[in-house]
């Protein structure tokens, strides 16, 4: 066992290229760990440093051994940044240009350069490493909130020290989806690792008390099972989903689940019943969304610019809590279309293709979750979107490449039948 590992390690560090590649890979779980908490000090500084190191390493790796490739991903991401820029320009607030989006886009494009040099298996390994980062975080979370976790205090809404609870839950729910896919795909003993991690992420997600994530996760998990099965299997899956749903309803009756029970009942009351308590979070979100829509309608093409919605939301300093509306109000139709195409393009291209479930469902989760929270400036999206793009099989791969030879820069347009691996 140890010998095998040494041989493997030796092979990985035999040349500069493989060494670099291994380091870039090794940083991914760490980055995942810190990106979850990048809203809070001091984690944000560490996340920033890690992103910087990874970007520089990839830059070096690409310049030395590969080419820069500008294709549909760079184009669409470029459109989004351009839409944001136009919006800031038309509002004469260029000075408030969102640097986060710019930096994340640059990281996304550079990370993508690395991803397209990988083969299919290695790309899947990137997803596995993201899950590993999630597991690191889960362990840290449990240690940090040990007392609350073992008592299953759902109503405490844990995780506020790391990030906004809903945001945190979104990351955890994404890990749940990824692990679920691996449970179905992976064979043998390794399945157990993913089963345990799914369970772990799920419990932590519930501990954050995020109802929105719970709802989206239930819907998408059911959709995932449907998506990945065929024929007779589907009948069993339908029965299983129904049974799980019943089990969920029953589990809501347990004492420690009272928080979820109350909130779900209140939500029901808000929509269908005239009496009883209502869910104010839900109501508040609707109000915020209405404000955002009004802003969009008063400046539909260019919007009000980055971070402006909060000034209009009844003095609450709150964002519209809906990515569709936040994009419409901030960057107008242009920014909205650019970002949604960025999300939908890889989903459509990878839809129903073999071994592409990871790309489809990780982005589908983000797409659906837009109803509940802002996602366009969060770090995990700029991880998952390039990954999903890199998994697309292009029949003819059109792109511009930038290469360095004899100390000269070459910029050329090329068509490949296969993505750049052999080059």
């Amino acid at each position: 066992m140890f010998k095998k590992l040494t041989i493997k390690m030796k092979a990985k560090f035999s040349s500069l290229e493989t060494t670099l590649k291994s380091i870039i890979f090794a940083l991914i779980p760490l980055m995942t760990f810190f990106l979850i908490m990048s809203d809070r000090k001091p984690y944000n500084s560490l996340a920033f440093i890690l992103y910087g190191i990874e970007t520089l390493l990839i830059l070096f790796f690409i310049i030395k051994y590969h080419k820069f490739v500008f294709d549909v991903f760079s184009l669409l991401l470029g459109f989004f940044v351009l839409a944001v820029l136009i919006s800031q320009l038309t509002n004469f607030t260029l000075i408030d240009f969102p640097r986060t989006i710019l930096l994340l886009s640059i990281f996304g494009i550079i990370f993508y350069q690395f991803l397209i040099t990988l083969n299919e298996e290695e790309k899947h390994n990137v997803y596995k490493l993201i899950i590993l980062g999630g597991i690191f975080f889960a362990i840290y979370f449990i240690i940090y909130y040990f007392d609350d976790v073992i008592h299953l205090r759902f109503n405490e809404r844990l995780g506020g020290d790391f990030s906004d609870q809903n945001d945190l839950a979104k990351n955890l729910a994404t890990f749940v989806i990824l692990s679920e896919i691996f449970i179905i795909k992976v064979k043998g003993k390794n399945k157990i690792i993913y089963i345990i991690s799914t369970f772990l992420f799920l419990v932590l997600m519930l501990l954050t008390g995020s109802i929105s994530n719970l709802l989206v996760l239930i819907v998408l998990s059911a959709a995932l099972l449907f998506y990945m099965t065929k024929g007779k299997q589907r009948i069993f899956v339908t029965i299983a989903i129904f049974a799980m749903f019943l089990l969920f309803i029953v589990s809501l009756q347990l004492p420690f689940m009272s928080y979820f029970r109350t909130r779900l009942i209140n939500m029901y009351n808000l929509v269908f019943s005239e009496s009883g308590k209502i869910d104010h979070s839900f109501l508040e979100r609707t109000h915020l969304a209405m404000y955002g829509l009004r802003l969009f309608i008063s400046k539909p093409i260019f919007g009000y610019g980055y971070n402006q919605v909060q000034f209009y939301t009844m003095g609450k300093d709150a964002f519209s809590h809906n990515n569709f509306i936040e994009l419409l109000a901030s960057f107008g139709i242009l920014g909205f279309a650019a970002f949604e195409i960025l999300l939908l393009y890889p989903i459509i291209k990878n839809w129903k293709k073999q071994k592409k479930e990871l790309a489809v469902f990780s982005l589908l989760y983000i797409f659906v979750f837009q109803i509940f929270l802002i996602v366009f400036r969060k770090k995990i999206e700029y991880f998952l979107i390039p990954l999903a793009f890199s998994l697309i099989d292009y029949p003819i791969y059109k792109c511009y490449t930038l290469s360095f030879k004899n100390k000269k820069i070459y910029f050329s347009k090329k068509n490949y039948s296969e993505p750049l691996l052999s080059e």
Partner: protein, 419 residues
């Protein structure tokens, strides 16, 4: 060939003409609605505030009748706020903060002049029980249709004080002044009958708020905790903001007293800071002006940092007297006719179009609309009379255009696929 070009030219002339007509009529319809006027004035006001270098100060005073000389009082408050300006990024409406002798005091004063005060109905008291720590006695500061608004962590903070019900009950029971009343609600009604209502939260220690006390008109209410001061909140808010006192400000930053039906029916003056409280003002106009009582004698004064009155003040004041939501219907009819003709023209020209021309034909109205928006944005920056701009490029007009544009795309889709 020549004929074809002529036909193509004609198509685009018709398209541009109908688009321009449709968009113009939509805007005219919007401009003829007086609710649009209010919205335009508010947006314009907001644009002005944002373009100021120091955006911390934009003060408004809302008064009903009679005019009690609010400017004098306003200056007093302004002085006080200037003193503490360095400490806070923004201020609460109605929240005057001071930092004297090591005390951090947050006093919420309703009724700043000695002429007319909101009296008996200023505060409606309702008890509202919710799960966990949200059992509380709230002091909602406004009502719709006589129904007290339910208080929650979020809107409760907007509305004002938050006091533990069990604590309050105890206090009420122990206070001789409440002996004659049966219910808690009545007791508090009595409590609040005094001319001035002052809610105070003060703390000796700035960083470690172990010593917060609440009082209404100097009567001690609760020093255990209320929702926003429970341990959990303290822990989280301190982690997030690094300073517990900010969480107080966070929860309290907008008391929405401007909505109060009773305030305006009784006649009062309030001084407030509307920076970051645009939404309050907006809601105020949407919710209050429609009522009859606000139509006569409502006086709104909005000041900039120098204490000078804004031009929007006049617009809002005159508007409150002639408030109506229906616009000139003929413009709406003309706008829809133009858009209908535009949509119909696609079907007429359809067979003579190449795919490229089809796309150009569909997008031309959108391009014209975008061009208008660019002009609007540019004028916004260089023109001073933003109000007029917001009134002309109004959101009703935009909405009508967007609907028409969506319908036209739908029409193209149907026509291309099914006809």
């Amino acid at each position: 060939m020549k004929n074809k070009r002529f036909f193509l030219g004609l198509m685009f002339v018709v398209n541009s003409l109908l688009s321009i007509l449709g968009i113009s009529f939509s805007y005219l319809y919007g401009a003829s609605k007086s609710s649009t006027t209010a919205y335009a004035a508010l947006m314009s006001l907001d644009a002005k505030v944002k373009s100021q270098e120091n955006t911390n100060f934009l003060h408004g005073s809302l008064s009903y009748s009679p005019s009690p000389g609010s400017v004098k009082e306003y200056n007093k408050l302004l002085d006080l706020q200037k003193k503490t300006k360095g400490k806070y990024r923004y201020y609460n409406s109605f929240l005057v903060s001071s930092n004297e002798d090591g005390f951090i005091n947050y006093d919420v004063d309703y009724g700043t002049t000695n002429e007319v005060y909101a009296k008996t109905n200023l505060l409606q008291v309702s008890t509202f029980y919710d799960f966990h720590f949200m059992e509380s006695l709230g002091l909602p500061l406004f009502r719709f249709d006589d129904a007290p608004i339910k208080i929650t962590a979020k809107n409760g903070a907007d509305l004002g004080a938050y006091i533990s019900a069990s604590q309050a009950k105890e206090i009420v029971n122990n206070d001789v002044r409440f002996a004659e009343y049966e219910s808690l609600e009545e007791a508090f009604q009595k409590l609040l009958i005094d001319d001035t209502f002052t809610f105070t939260a003060s703390s000796r220690e700035y960083k470690n708020n172990t010593d917060i006390t609440f009082s209404v008109n100097g009567i001690y209410l609760d020093n255990a905790h209320s929702y926003m001061f429970n341990d959990y909140q303290k822990k989280v808010q301190t982690k997030i903001y690094g300073d517990y006192s900010k969480s107080f400000e966070f929860w309290f930053k907008d008391s929405v007293i401007t909505f109060s039906y009773d305030i305006f029916s009784k006649g009062s003056t309030y001084v407030f800071d509307i920076r970051k409280n645009y939404g309050n003002l907006d809601q105020f106009f949407n919710s209050v002006i429609g009522y009859d009582y606000a139509m006569t004698g409502l006086n709104i004064s909005l000041y900039n940092e120098q204490g000078l009155i804004y031009e929007e003040t006049d617009v809002l004041n005159s508007m409150s007297n002639e408030y109506h939501t229906s616009g000139n219907i003929i413009f709406l009819f003309l706008a829809f006719s133009s858009f209908f003709a535009l949509i119909f023209s696609f079907q007429y020209f359809y067979e003579k179009m190449t795919p490229f021309i089809k796309i150009a034909y569909i997008l031309l109205p959108f391009a014209i609309f975008s061009f208008g928006q660019i002009i609007f944005n540019l004028l916004m920056v260089f023109k001073i009379e933003r109000y007029i701009l917001y009134q002309f490029f109004n959101s009703i007009g935009n909405l009508i255009f967007l609907i028409a544009f969506l319908v036209s795309i739908f029409n193209v889709f149907i026509w291309s696929n099914y006809v």
